[in-house]
Symmetry: C2
Subunit: 346 residues, 2 copies
């Protein structure tokens, strides 16, 4: 039996959700693919690390984090490791880059992936940074080393945009993308539409646990910008970086503007727009926009939506409603499935 | 260089659109995949057949049909053949089943595909019939013979539903599907909403060329029923046949009902609904329904839409807007791409 040895960098929401899906489907995957997926290391920033070259007990790893808040230093597989050392030295088949995002540099995640690919190892990234800043370089590196490089989780979590583009939209040209890609600003604008002030909305979101102490990555449009950049790099070969996107956040949107828009039958959304111009240049913009209330983009139940304009398939919309953590974990899981599929026939 | 030899059964709108896309991308495909796709036979019901074991001139084949209305009996590769003889005897790698649909039996298309798979040949079907009537048998046969069996075109043309389910939604369970799957009834109901009578709408559709002389397959709900059956068979393992679907067409819908619905803020659409019940049984229904006008399903620009309810990804919507013939040809093309991908690593 072939094995697929995984080293996991970062083990937050996505990592734990991935582990649960993997544990639930592991036996069937082995039957289907003839490859046994095993996790050999998990590194975290502040909750310790685990390492066992023969495979960790993944259920036990999840249990320790959930019940004890960190890995137990007395546990037999406890190890003192850091992510770069793992990327450089451990004998994994796939590196799973799940560390926290640095939206302004894509580092150190990009270096982790670069190291793995240069060693001829596959890489899976749930981290948008490396894709937003170094997509072309990393893609070329993966190709040159005959490695898989998957990143489904980076936009719309596990909703299959990139696998679809790669597998099901071959030779289709994309010339325009429109989307609403950030769930936090959706929530804030929706609450403000009910008359709540911007400050009170932030407070409520923090109390409910889905706004960070500093939500500026969302409210300033950086998260949406990074996602638009990744979409355009992958689907349109845009070779774009986030700093080149014309970006306006939502912190300037007032309840009065939302009310005035509603009187015109419109709803304000943080829209992402990217297109290829006739001269080959590209335009990329993230900004609040009025959307007609009867437009499918205005649907309040939506978590995210993307419209893809193509030459051969016309226009397609893909809409995401699920916000469960399983959706994020599934993105990592499906990337791992695709690596196993790759390994199973080679 | 490996070759992938294709025998094409039926060469109407889908076949010609497929040929155009293949011709436009052929050189790049050979570079990318290291497999050369060649068409070795084309059979039609009434426009003659072509056969050359070394490969036909596909551009010339398309030209003859478009300019002369049929294959030229004097042409060097003209042949007297029938589809079943091709399926049974010719040395192809992939059989492309593009013959006209028999919605009540799935034949003779199912026999063509069965024959190919039993011979260990790959099969691509743009014909819904075999999928609606014999999906499980054909899928098992393909698996037992290690063959590809793809059919992207059968629902929402080339919009990647089945490849997505197969590749990007692995181990995800689907427990409900909702959709508007038939473009013709969309058109008729929309026109009737403007006050046109049912009879005048049919007349207009025929004059514009997108309604058949007998549109009853669409208006009686058979086309939508076959598509719902295929979706449920593939995504939900429903093992359903079209005769088991609770089916009501739109011929009973009156302008008065449409007007009354509009006064309630609703639009009438031919809805398809399929679900798995708690006891493991399934429910499948096609019928006209009132949809709130502000619902994304009510969008008049839509050609088709499907909502997929899953355990791990929550709910997803996929919306198709493009009605160009390229969308249909692309479904066949992407299935062929996937066969080439399969061959390229084996």
């Amino acid at each position: 039996m072939k094995t697929c040895k995984m080293s996991v960098l970062g083990f937050g929401v996505a990592g734990k959700a991935f582990a649960r899906i993997l544990l639930a489907n592991r036996e069937q995957m082995i039957k289907d693919k003839g490859v046994e997926p095993i996790v050999i290391s998990i590194t975290t920033g502040s909750r310790g690390c685990l390492y066992n070259p023969d495979g960790l007990d993944l259920a036990e790893a999840v249990r320790q984090l959930e019940e004890e808040g960190k890995f137990n230093p007395e546990y037999k597989d406890y190890a003192v490791l850091d992510s770069m050392t793992v990327a450089e030295t451990i004998d994994y088949d796939v590196l799973l880059e799940l560390t926290p995002l640095n939206i302004f540099t894509g580092q150190p995640a990009a270096d982790h992936i670069r190291t793995a690919l240069k060693r001829g190892k596959h890489a899976v990234s749930a981290n948008k940074g490396p894709l937003a800043w170094y997509y072309k370089e990393l893609k070329d590196l993966a190709k040159a080393n005959s490695c898989c490089f998957f990143f489904e989780t980076t936009v719309m979590a596990g909703v299959p945009i990139f696998d679809m583009a790669d597998s099901s939209m071959q030779y289709c040209k994309v010339d325009k993308i429109e989307g609403i890609l950030n769930a936090t600003t959706n929530f804030i604008l929706k609450e403000m539409g009910k008359g709540t002030s911007y400050e009170d909305t932030l407070k409520m979101g923090r109390e409910r646990g889905f706004l960070e102490a500093d939500p500026s990555m969302d409210t300033d449009g950086w998260d949406a910008t990074a996602k638009l950049t990744v979409l355009m790099n992958v689907l349109m070969d845009a070779n774009l970086t986030p700093d080149k996107v014309d970006r306006t956040g939502i912190s300037g949107v007032t309840p009065e503007e939302i009310k005035a828009a509603a009187e015109r039958g419109n709803i304000i959304k943080l829209m992402c727009r990217g297109s290829k111009n006739a001269d080959g240049t590209i335009t990329a913009k993230v900004a609040p926009e009025e959307v007609p209330a009867n437009n499918s983009f205005a649907n309040d139940e939506l978590v995210a939506v993307v419209s893809i304009y193509t030459d051969l398939l016309g226009k397609l919309d893909i809409m995401q409603y699920g916000l469960e953590t399983s959706v994020t974990g599934y993105g990592v899981f499906i990337d791992v499935c695709r690596v196993l599929d790759w390994m199973s026939v080679r």
